[in-house]
C-alpha cells in the first residue's frame, strides 16, 4: 500500500514536470499569423511557397494564414489590432494605408526596407511613393491592377466597326457606342458602374485624370474634383447615358459584378474594367487564349481633346501590425513573398499586374498567359491612385452621390460636383492627421 502511494506521489510530481517540458518545447516554436485576402490563398504562390522557403531557414517558425473577403479584411484587422490581438502580417488595400498608418495599426518599415539591397529601387517609382504615409514606408507592394477599356470584337464587326481600332478619343467613344447600341438585339454601346459603391467613383476617376483633374489637392486637404476637368468627365457619362442613350439607366441599380456579367453575356459592347475578362471567358466561356483574343479587345481608355492617357490603379500591400511580437521575422517573410521568383507565377495565374521592374521585365512570360499584358504595361506608367486618407470612404460616398445626381438628371454636373466638394471640404476640415 505504501509503495502504491509512493508511486502515486512520484507520478504527481513528474507529470507537471513533463507538461512543463512539453510547454517549453512548444514555446520554442514561433507562430506568425497572417490575415490575407481569400483569393490569394487559392494557389501555392505567393504565400505558401514563400512559407516553405522560410521554414527551411527557420524550421521553428510556423506561419498560419487566414483568408478573408474584402470588407472583412479591413474590419477584422482593425478590430483584432484594436483588441491587441492582431496578426503579424496583413494585406492592406492601398486606399486603407492612411487609416491604418495614422492609427498606428502598422509599423514603420522604412529602415528595414533600406536594409535590403535593391528592394526599394526595384519598385516603380509611383508605387514606391504610394507605400508611404507622411513620408514613412508602411508596406511592400504585392500586386496592382489598372482600369482599361474592354470591348467585344464580334459586336464591333456586327456594327461595321474595325475590331482592331478601338475608340481612342471621347468623341470616338460616343460615336462607336451609338453604332454599337442596338435595341433590337438588346445590346448597349458602353457600360460603367453607377451603383452606390466606390466602384462608381473609381471608374470615373480615369476620365477625371485624363482631362487633367485630380480628386483632392496634392496635400489631400481640399476637394479638387469639381474642376473644369471634373465637369467634363461627368458630362461625358451624362452624355452617354442621358443624351446618347448608349448606356442603360439601370446601371444605377446593379452592382459592378453584374455590369461585368452583362459584358460577358454580350449585353454591353464596351466597358471600363479593372484588368481584363480573360479569366471569365476562359473559365466560364471555355475560350482558348487565341479565341479570347479574337473575341475580346482591350485598349487604353479613350482620351479627351487635349488630354493625355491616364488610368487608375488599386492593389495590395503586405504590412506588419503593431501587435507583431516578431516584426523582424515577419518582415523577412514578406520580403520572400514579394520576390520576383516567388510572386510572378501567382500574378500570371491571377492576371494581376506587377509593381516591380524586375517582374515587368518578364513581359514575354506574362504575355504568354495574360493576353493583354502589353496594354496594361503601356498604361501603368500613367496610373494614379485614390487618396489613401482615413476619410476616403466618406469622400467617395459624396462623389458617388454627385455622379448619381447628374446621371438621374437631378442636378447638372457642375452643381452636383460643387455641392459634393463643399461636403468633402467639411469632412476634411475635421481630419485629425
Amino acid at each position: 500500500m505504501k509503495r502504491t502511494i509512493l508511486w502515486l506521489l512520484v507520478l504527481l510530481i513528474l507529470f507537471p514536470l513533463a507538461l512543463t517540458g512539453a510547454e517549453r518545447r512548444e514555446s520554442e516554436e514561433i507562430v506568425l499569423t497572417a490575415m490575407v485576402r481569400d483569393y490569394s490563398l487559392n494557389y501555392d504562390t505567393p504565400w505558401y511557397t514563400a512559407a516553405e522557403k522560410f521554414s527551411e531557414k527557420y524550421p521553428h517558425v510556423r506561419i498560419e494564414f487566414e483568408g478573408l473577403p474584402y470588407n472583412d479584411q479591413r474590419e477584422k484587422v482593425l478590430i483584432t489590432v484594436g483588441a491587441e490581438r492582431g496578426p503579424d502580417i496583413v494585406m492592406v488595400d492601398c486606399i486603407w494605408l492612411g487609416e491604418f498608418a495614422s492609427n498606428n495599426i502598422l509599423i514603420d518599415l522604412t529602415s528595414r526596407i533600406s536594409a535590403v539591397p535593391g528592394l526599394r529601387d526595384d519598385y516603380i517609382e509611383s508605387f514606391q511613393q504610394s507605400s508611404k504615409w507622411n513620408g514613412i514606408e508602411y508596406g511592400l507592394w504585392l500586386w496592382t491592377d489598372v482600369r482599361m477599356l474592354s470591348y467585344n470584337k464580334d459586336l464591333f464587326r456586327a456594327a461595321g466597326l474595325d475590331p482592331n481600332k478601338p475608340p481612342a478619343t471621347w468623341a470616338e467613344l460616343r460615336e462607336y457606342a451609338k453604332k454599337l447600341t442596338n435595341p433590337a438585339t438588346g445590346v448597349w454601346g458602353y457600360a460603367f458602374p453607377a451603383f452606390s459603391t466606390d466602384h462608381t467613383a473609381d471608374r470615373w476617376y480615369p476620365f477625371l485624370y485624363m482631362a487633367g483633374g485630380q480628386i483632392l489637392s496634392d496635400d489631400y486637404t481640399r476637394a479638387a474634383f469639381n474642376s473644369e476637368a471634373g465637369v467634363q468627365a461627368l458630362q461625358l457619362l451624362v452624355d452617354l447615358m442621358r443624351n446618347d442613350k448608349v448606356s442603360p439607366t439601370d446601371l444605377l441599380g446593379i452592382s459592378e459584378s453584374d455590369v461585368s456579367n452583362g459584358f460577358f453575356t454580350e449585353k454591353y459592347a464596351m466597358q471600363i474594367k479593372v484588368g481584363e475578362f480573360w479569366a471569365d471567358f476562359r473559365d466560364k466561356g471555355g475560350l482558348t487564349f487565341d479565341e479570347y483574343k479574337n473575341k475580346i479587345g482591350v485598349a487604353p481608355l479613350p482620351v479627351p481633346p487635349g488630354g493625355s492617357i491616364a488610368t487608375g490603379s488599386g492593389g495590395w500591400l503586405a504590412a506588419i501590425t503593431r501587435d507583431s511580437k516578431h516584426p523582424d521575422l515577419a518582415f523577412e517573410y514578406i520580403t520572400m513573398v514579394v520576390e520576383t521568383y516567388n510572386m510572378t507565377e501567382f500574378l500570371i495565374k491571377q492576371g494581376a499586374i506587377p509593381t516591380r521592374k524586375s517582374m515587368l521585365a518578364l513581359e514575354d512570360r506574362f504575355l504568354s498567359a495574360v493576353p493583354y499584358f502589353n496594354v496594361a504595361a503601356e498604361v501603368l506608367p500613367h496610373t494614379q491612385f485614390r487618396p489613401p486618407i482615413p476619410e476616403y470612404s466618406q469622400i467617395s460616398s459624396e462623389i458617388v452621390f454627385a455622379i448619381q445626381s447628374a446621371l438621374t438628371g437631378r442636378a447638372a454636373p457642375k452643381a452636383a460636383l460643387d455641392l459634393a466638394a463643399q461636403r468633402v471640404n467639411a469632412i476634411l476640415d475635421q481630419r485629425k492627421w
Binding site: 470588407n71 474590419e75 482593425l78 478590430i79 484594436g82 483588441a83 491587441e84 487609416e99 491604418f100 495614422s102 492609427n103 498606428n104 495599426i105 438588346g186 453607377a194 451603383f195 452606390s196 459603391t197 442603360p248 439607366t249 439601370d250 446601371l251 444605377l252 441599380g253 446593379i254 452592382s255 453584374d258 449585353k267 482615413p390 470612404s393 466618406q394 460616398s397 459624396e398 458617388v400 452621390f401 448619381q404 445626381s405 438621374t408 437631378r410 461636403r423 467639411a426
Partner: protein, 291 residues
C-alpha cells in the same frame, strides 16, 4: 401570503444569467459606447463626449437624419402593414377546413422566411432586372412601360419593401395561424347555426379572439423589420442617392465603413428606442379587451 420556494429561483437562474449576459449587458455596453467617441481603428481609445454623438446625427448632411427616419418609417410601416394583412388573409385561407393539403401549403409559405436575407435580395434583384426580369415582362404584357426599379430613386424604396413583404409574410402567417387554431371551432359552428354571415363571424368572433396574436405579430415584426439590413444591402446598398438608406444601413455605414463606432452606437440606441416606443404604442392602443 404564500412564500415562494427558493428552489424556483434556482430553476430560472440559468435563464436570468443568459438574459443578463447576452441581452442586458450588450445594451448597457452600447448605451455606454454611444456617449463616447470611438473609432474602429482605435477601439481602446474612448473619449467621453456626452450627447455629442446624438447631436452629430442631426448635423450629418448626406443623408440627413430626418430623411433616414422617413425612409425607415416608410420601410417599416409598409412592410409590417402588408405582412400582417397578407399573413392574416393567408392564415384564414389555410385555416379553412375544406382546404386539402393545408400543412403542405403552410410549409411551402415558410420558404421565404427560412431563406437568408442576402439570397432574398439577390433573387429579387433578378426579378426586378429591367430587361430579363419577370416584373417588367408582366408590365409589357399589360402594355405598360418597363421600369428601372432599383435604379430609380423613386422606385427603389417600394422595390425593397416588396421584397421584404415577400420575405416577412410567413412570419405573421405562422403566428396568426396559431391564433386561429386556438379558437374553439364550436364557437364558429354555433354562429353559423344562429345564421351569422362570414363577415360577422370574422368581425365578432375571430378578430377579437386573435387580437392578442395580431398584437404579438405587430410588436415582433416591427422590431425585426427595423433591423433588416442584408436584403437592402444586397439589393441597393442603400442607394441610389441614399433613397433606400434605412437606420440599419445608415448605422452600418457610419460604424463600419466610416469607422465611427460611437456614432454607430447612438444610431443603435435610436433604433432600439423607436422599436420600444412603437411596441408601447401598439400595446396601449391595441391591447385585447380595451374596448
Amino acid at each position: 401570503m404564500r412564500r415562494r420556494p427558493a428552489v424556483g429561483y434556482l430553476y430560472i437562474t440559468p435563464l436570468v444569467v443568459g438574459v443578463l449576459l447576452f441581452s442586458i449587458y450588450p445594451v448597457i455596453q452600447v448605451v455606454w459606447m454611444s456617449f463616447h467617441e470611438i473609432h474602429l481603428a482605435s477601439l481602446r481609445q474612448m473619449t467621453w463626449v456626452g450627447l455629442q454623438n446624438y447631436a452629430e446625427l442631426f448635423r450629418i448632411q448626406r443623408p440627413t437624419f430626418s430623411s433616414v427616419l422617413t425612409i425607415t418609417a416608410l420601410f417599416v410601416g409598409g412592410s409590417v402593414f402588408f405582412h400582417v394583412v397578407i399573413g392574416l388573409l393567408l392564415a384564414l385561407m389555410l385555416n379553412a377546413t375544406w382546404l386539402k393539403g393545408r400543412t403542405f401549403f403552410r410549409n411551402l409559405y415558410m420558404l421565404p422566411w427560412i431563406t437568408s436575407g442576402i439570397m432574398v435580395g439577390y433573387t429579387w434583384s433578378f426579378l426586378f432586372e429591367p430587361r430579363a426580369g419577370i416584373l417588367n415582362y408582366m408590365l409589357s404584357l399589360l402594355s405598360l412601360p418597363a421600369q428601372s426599379w432599383t435604379a430609380d430613386p423613386t422606385l427603389a424604396l417600394p422595390s425593397i419593401i416588396i421584397a421584404n413583404i415577400w420575405r416577412g409574410v410567413p412570419y405573421s402567417l405562422i403566428i396568426l395561424t396559431g391564433g386561429l387554431q386556438s379558437i374553439n371551432p364550436e364557437l364558429n359552428e354555433s354562429a353559423i347555426v344562429d345564421g351569422a354571415s362570414t363577415t360577422q363571424i370574422f368581425r365578432l368572433i375571430t378578430f377579437p379572439l386573435i387580437k392578442s396574436f395580431i398584437l404579438l405579430t405587430l410588436i415582433l415584426d416591427t422590431g425585426l423589420t427595423f433591423h433588416v439590413f442584408d436584403t437592402i444591402f444586397s439589393m441597393t446598398a442603400g442607394g441610389p442617392m441614399h433613397s433606400t438608406e434605412t437606420l440599419a444601413v445608415f448605422m452600418y455605414y457610419q460604424a463600419f465603413k466610416y469607422g465611427k463606432i460611437g456614432l454607430g452606437s447612438s444610431i443603435s440606441m435610436v433604433l432600439l428606442t423607436f422599436a420600444l416606443i412603437i411596441a408601447i404604442v401598439y400595446m396601449r392602443f391595441f391591447r385585447p379587451g380595451r374596448e
